[in-house]
Symmetry: C2
Subunit: 426 residues, 2 copies
């Protein structure tokens, strides 16, 4: 199925998709129609008819538009990056090249897991623009989790996404040259990597003006900033994030980067993509499932729903590991391995230790991703959106306890059972 | 002293040094004179006079010439890469861009440790050529070690080289963008990285036609190839080599890449340069000192000289660590650290664990670098050059025992004392 991926890495990355217009301009509601109808494949997709364009208000980083042809029920998404952070305005410059990394990652994913990412209809790195499938029948997973919706197929889908994208972009599959070519294509995604370095691994644990602290928790925040033992492990994990080049990561795989319904799941917005540690995407996902779990102590008291979340975390990791190891077994030659180098028994021992290391680091990253949401710039709706002030405060403190516990102990948490136990006694 | 390095990383790497002639051609003894005298700064350096050009026979990879003006005692080295491995001929293609990485590394080193690398007079990436200082009063260290010469200043020099070059190219000093820029500049040195992956971490431990096995040790080689326990750790170390982006490495820091005399030491030939694990350069150096140590059980029975080698290994590591930590203390802000993030005590604990990890990995890499010399393609003169066949065989077996022991136990060897003990009971 994916035998052509290594050739794909070589070829695709030489020929960027580029538009005909060689200069960048920011599109608006008024100019967007002319632009898209000038692209033959888009014109033909939309067919003739009454085209309506509206901006999606929640595009924090980029401008995002929905284009609909009401007559024939066709629609698509136009996403354009501007040279600043959209939500903050021109006073917060941010290179518009960030969207290139999203385009490149989506192109990579499309070959591997076409049913788990939105289809790209057109991409133009010069215009910092991408036109893609409108997921009109799906909602942002975070909202689904808040409203206690069950997604029976999600663990199956996302474990496939993780196994496929991480394995096929790693040195366990690619050869040495292909891996370096991949690194080259994402290495300059510096600004967004630095966002993570700052806002996941640094500022939420110290006095900083970017923090957004619940006024009811000022003392607790102050106390946290003076704790130092867990920060040693935050530094370790930050160093791994910055220097460990395992595989192409989505880079921001929280439940706001997933759109789904009960049948289908899609991963969106990989603009933080870069070659980093396997465990970071896995950890981000587990963290956000745990945040949902925490929130339901205070939102719904829905024990059954919490049990489903825990079961889903287990399923995601177990299936990820099984699928990843199956891919590894199917591909005995890579930058790392040469068939015949080592006997089966010892190779399997090596793999088991390798996977255990991914698991442990996933727990550590999950801890950071949970803890940073408490006092850092970016909270999560699951918890910050709890309306009762007392309950919100308790939920935040629980998130802090769990996050810190996972950070402090990640090197010792060796199994899903050990993880779940810690979640159940909070 | 090095406050300008971060700016330097940014600037230097934008403006490559380029010659005026925009096409590549291979120079010969006959054409080299016209080429170099066409470069004003070289012409002026050599002044007028009787210029003599001779090829250095031991350039295995590149063509290397000495240019001498006999009248005024000036001389220099001209080194040009050809699109194949020089010693193997055109049947062994090798991208001539490899020399760019050597030029870039030497330029980086020159700013940090100008007295420990040859001076570059001229560099031309288009011609794949570099003109540099002729180290006429220095010999290749490996030869010096074979002839039991003492180098009382070597540990001081090389520990400075390691501390300066590793620290200032790491995320402990550079900011996030500078680090990625550095990675970009060396990431495509794929062919030479692959040499290491193959010839240090893979082929010397399995049946392969590239191996060069002493006919007296065919049974021992066969037995080694069937051992599997130590290969698990070889895989671990290979994976670290391939994916851990700590700092700019020389990449081939054995005693053949050092020229020295009793007063001065120079590091040469960094064509394997890339951003990799701190421990790899340190391990390469320790390995080659250990090879010299082993050789003197059979060459000279020079116990005093062996004691000096052991003392030098200790001094190198101790001084490296002291200097590296001093630099770290002087620079409290970096991609990794933000002043005020963590208290002094815990920061020092973090650093201590960080350094211990570098030490352990250095031992592991040293083990591979020793073991691969026994049956692999590239032996070392120290041991393979022992004329008495019985003694050579014993020395090779000792190297194998030591190499394997260090590979198997590197995660447990926590101190120089523990390392030295293992060397003394072989």
């Amino acid at each position: 199925m994916v035998g052509y991926i290594s050739i794909y890495v070589k070829l695709l990355f030489i020929n960027d998709i580029k538009g005909k217009d060689m200069s960048y301009k920011i599109l608006t509601i008024d100019t967007i129609k002319a632009y898209i109808l000038n692209i033959p494949e888009i014109k033909s997709y939309l067919e003739d008819g009454d085209i309506e364009i509206s901006e999606i208000g929640d595009g924090n980083v980029n401008f995002v538009y929905i284009v609909t042809n009401k007559d024939n029920q066709k629609s698509l998404i136009v996403k354009q990056a501007v040279p600043y952070l959209r939500i903050a305005g021109e006073g917060f410059p941010l290179s518009r090249e960030r969207i290139n990394y999203e385009i490149r990652a989506l192109q990579f994913y499309e070959k591997l897991v076409p049913n788990l990412v939105p289809k790209i209809y057109y991409a133009d790195e010069v215009m910092s623009l991408v036109i893609m499938q409108n997921l009109s029948k799906h909602i942002i997973m975070r909202k689904g989790l808040i409203s206690t919706t069950y997604y029976p197929n999600f663990a199956e889908h996302i474990s496939t996404f993780l196994a496929q994208t991480l394995f096929f972009s790693s040195s366990l599959y690619l050869d040495s040259t292909e891996k370096r070519t991949l690194i080259d294509r994402f290495n300059s995604n510096t600004e967004l990597c630095k966002f993570t370095e700052d806002f996941v691994f640094t500022l939420p644990y110290m006095e900083d003006e970017t923090n957004d602290i619940n006024p009811d928790l000022l003392d607790e925040a102050k106390a946290l900033f003076e704790e130092n033992e867990f920060k040693k492990n935050v530094l370790k994990l930050k160093y791994i994030f910055m220097t460990q080049s395992d595989a192409l990561l989505h880079g921001d795989l929280h439940t706001g980067s997933i759109m789904l319904n009960e049948q289908e799941s899609y991963v969106i917005d990989p603009e933080f993509a870069f070659v980093g540690p396997f465990a970071f995407d896995i950890g981000a996902l587990i963290a956000n499932m745990i945040n949902a779990y925490i929130s339901h102590f205070y939102r719904s008291e829905g024990k059954a729903y919490q049990a489903w979340i825990i079961e889903t975390i287990k399923e995601i990791y177990t299936q990820f590991e099984t699928k990843f190891l199956a891919l590894w077994a199917e591909h005995p030659n890579s930058a790392l391995l040469k068939e015949g180098f080592i006997a089966e028994k010892e190779l399997n021992e090596f793999k088991a230790e390798f996977m255990k290391n991914i698991f442990r680091q996933s727990i550590g990253f999950a801890g950071c991703k949970i803890a940073r949401r408490v006092f850092g710039i970016a909270g999560v709706e699951d918890i910050r959106g709890i309306e009762d002030k007392q309950k919100r405060k308790e939920a935040e403190l629980m998130a802090l306890r769990i996050g810190k516990d996972l950070i402090l102990n990640y090197e010792k948490i060796d199994s899903l059972e050990a993880l779940i136990e810690r979640l159940e006694v909070v």
